[in-house]
């Protein structure tokens, strides 16, 4: 498993280079509160690097998930996590709180 260790080191070494690239990103924010998602519609610019701050204000856990964006992030109560998205085609992308399946889906709209 030496090669595995090598890959992991390589991955960790290349991470700072990437985070530096995300600096000129546009910032957005989505709040989760025990099944409520705010906002339910988030307008973002297409083909740009986006930084979305995910905040869980609820008592229980939440999970940002979007199959179309291929992103999932679990959020412990009170946690804040930043999601980086590089370049979206114009269009609509559904996302939802996967730990509250009965909640209505929210939507990211890239223009």
């Amino acid at each position: 498993m030496k090669s595995a260790a090598f890959f992991v080191v390589l991955a960790l070494a290349s991470a700072p280079a990437l985070s530096a690239r995300a600096e000129n990103a546009t910032a957005f924010r989505i709040e989760f509160n025990d099944g409520k998602v705010e906002p339910l519609r988030l307008d973002v610019p297409a083909n740009q690097t986006l930084e979305i701050e995910l905040v869980n204000k609820g008592q229980g856990p939440a999970e940002f998930e979007s199959k179309q964006l291929r992103k999932e992030k679990v959020l412990a109560p009170g946690a804040t996590v930043t999601l980086v998205i590089r370049g979206l085609d114009p269009g609509e992308y559904d996302f939802f709180d996967d730990f509250h399946p009965d909640a209505p889906p929210a939507r990211l709209v890239a223009k």
């Binding site: 498993m1 090669s3 595995a4 890959f7 992991v8 390589l10 991955a11 960790l12 290349s14 991470a15 990437l18 985070s19 690239r21 995300a22 025990d34 609820g58 008592q59 229980g60 856990p61 939440a62 999970e63 199959k67 179309q68 291929r70 992103k71 999932e72 992030k73 679990v74 959020l75 412990a76 109560p77 946690a79 804040t80 996590v81 930043t82 999601l83 980086v84 998205i85 590089r86 370049g87 085609d89 559904d94 996967d98 730990f99 509250h100 399946p101 009965d102």
Partner: protein
């Protein structure tokens, strides 16, 4: 009922994918020679155990330092593991194909044993990743739900979690039963293809991650939309996508990765055999 039904459902959903992967691996190992399959099983369950430990550690890390963990580094870490698992699985399936038939006959155990040892890491890694991936989310989910349940509410949450897991195991048992009805030879074929599909799905997800990280170019926008035929969202579609690599709205990079992978597999599986007799 509402909240606890929710706990049961989420634990079931998070467990079933890992159980399906374990089931495929176990079925595939079951078709190998006796000694090889028991050795492989040891790697499988060691992988499951490693996955559970990793899930607990990762889940704890997400709860304690979630705010400070960098999105990109997490994604790179996952991607590297996925690529590694995909590579090991393909290598393992091909190796088994070449040696599987002679494995039972060859009794030069020293040499065979050595060759044997090196080739179960695919089973180990795939089982570990499948368990850790869903498991760490379940850890965060349960820890958060427990902390929200406050005084006196612990027992129902724990019961529901155990219920969800039991339901997942029952579903898995049902699928295993279904596997018994298929004929022996067909089943070997099917599990082999399922493993290659799984490796391909990991490869596609890894490619998607590399595109998302800006390390691989995205050669086009989505080329078509087959969501109405079979969506890759939703409970069933999402599960299907992560087991087979299905993409309802693929871009050119995804299509190329898919074609190159299956082209390479077809060549490796059906190329004329070297004349070693």
């Amino acid at each position: 009922m509402g909240q606890f039904g929710n706990v049961v459902f989420i634990v079931w959903r998070e467990s079933i994918e890992a159980l399906l992967v374990i089931g495929i691996l176990q079925a595939w190992l079951g078709q190998q020679g006796g000694d090889a399959s028991s050795r492989g099983r040891a790697y499988l369950w060691a992988g499951v155990a490693a996955g559970l430990v990793a899930a607990a550690l990762l889940g704890t890390a997400l709860i304690l330092f979630g705010d400070r963990l960098d999105d990109d580094s997490q994604q790179i870490f996952q991607t590297v593991l996925m690529l590694l698992a995909a590579g090991l699985i393909v290598q393992m399936v091909l190796w088994m194909r070449r040696h599987g038939r002679t494995l039972k006959r060859d009794l030069e155990t020293a040499l065979q044993g050595a060759a044997d040892k090196g080739n179960w890491w695919g089973v180990f890694t795939l089982a570990a990743i499948a368990v850790a991936r869903e498991g760490c989310e379940t850890v965060v989910f349960l820890a958060g739900t427990l902390s929200a349940a406050r005084s006196g509410g612990f027992a129902p949450v724990v019961f529901s979690a155990v219920g969800g897991l039991a339901l997942a195991v029952a579903t898995y048992g049902l699928l295993q039963l279904g596997g018994k009805i298929l004929s022996w030879r067909l089943f070997f074929r099917v599990t082999e293809i399922l493993l290659l599909l799984l490796a391909g799905a990991l490869l596609l997800t890894a490619a998607d991650n590399l595109v998302a990280l800006g390390l691989l170019p995205r050669l086009s926008g989505r080329l078509w939309d087959a969501s109405s035929l079979l969506s890759d969202g939703g409970v069933f579609g999402g599960l299907f996508a992560s087991l087979t690599g299905w993409r309802a709205r693929p871009d050119l990079t995804e299509i190329l990765v898919f074609l190159v992978y299956w082209g390479a597999m077809a060549w490796l599986l059906f190329r004329p055999k070297p004349t070693t007799r």
